[in-house]
């Protein structure tokens, strides 16, 4: 999946309407956020292993470790963006006056 096209899907899903109390709706916030956090943990532990390997003098190649670190980094940035979307959607709702 092309990163750009898949990211355009995100805002379409993360509009205020999908912020249900229990987060159970199909592609809701909760699911995306959980997925993002899982990914970070996975990528970060991989990066940790590889960097430790480089420093310890065996195992991973330097370029391999750098790639892993960069992926973990981007994954974190992605998670932050998702979080921001959630916050702004919440604010949008709280601005609604009934």
């Amino acid at each position: 999946m092309n990163p750009i096209s898949s990211l355009r899907i995100l805002p379409a899903e993360l509009n205020a309407a999908s912020l249900t109390p229990d987060g159970a709706s199909g592609h809701g916030f909760r699911k995306v956020l959980d997925s993002a956090i899982d990914d970070i943990q996975q990528l970060e532990s991989q990066a940790e292993t590889k960097v430790a390997g480089v420093l310890g003098g065996n195992g991973a190649d330097v370029h391999s470790a750098m790639i892993a670190v960069e992926k973990a980094d981007l994954s974190f940035q992605l998670m932050m963006q998702v979080r921001n979307k959630i916050v702004s959607a919440y604010q949008e709702i709280s601005r609604m006056q009934f």
């Binding site: 065996n58 190649d61 330097v62 370029h63 470790a65 750098m66």
Partner: protein, 144 residues
Amino acid sequence: MNLFGMLEVSGSALSAERWRAEVVSANMANAETTRTPEGGPYRRQLVVFRGRHLPRFPLLLATMRQAPEQGVRVDRVVPDASPLPRRYEPGHPDADSSGYVTYPNVNPVMEMTDLLSAVRAYQLNAAAVQAAKNMIQQSLQILS
């Protein structure tokens, strides 16, 4: 690349070639030595290279999935068994009863060629080290 393992291979070659160059230098310096401290004329020395699997530690080998690379080492430094030339110099202090002096079996031309070969091999392996350094530095650029 594995910082330690990779540079070890090239490093082993740098050490070995340097040792070889030193032996050649000793040969050239003693090309005319008719009497060594042990007695007798100097005999040409030569180095024997052998492949060496790196890394050396068996525990490390067990954990690595990659085939160990092959470095090089000086297996031994041996005397050249070829015959020592004799020259007729009756007046020489080291002449034997027949007036012959035994000289070292060192051919300066051959030694020079050997030295150039060692130097070139050294430069090639230094280039390999430089290449590794460049690649590592390039790798760091992957981080934004």
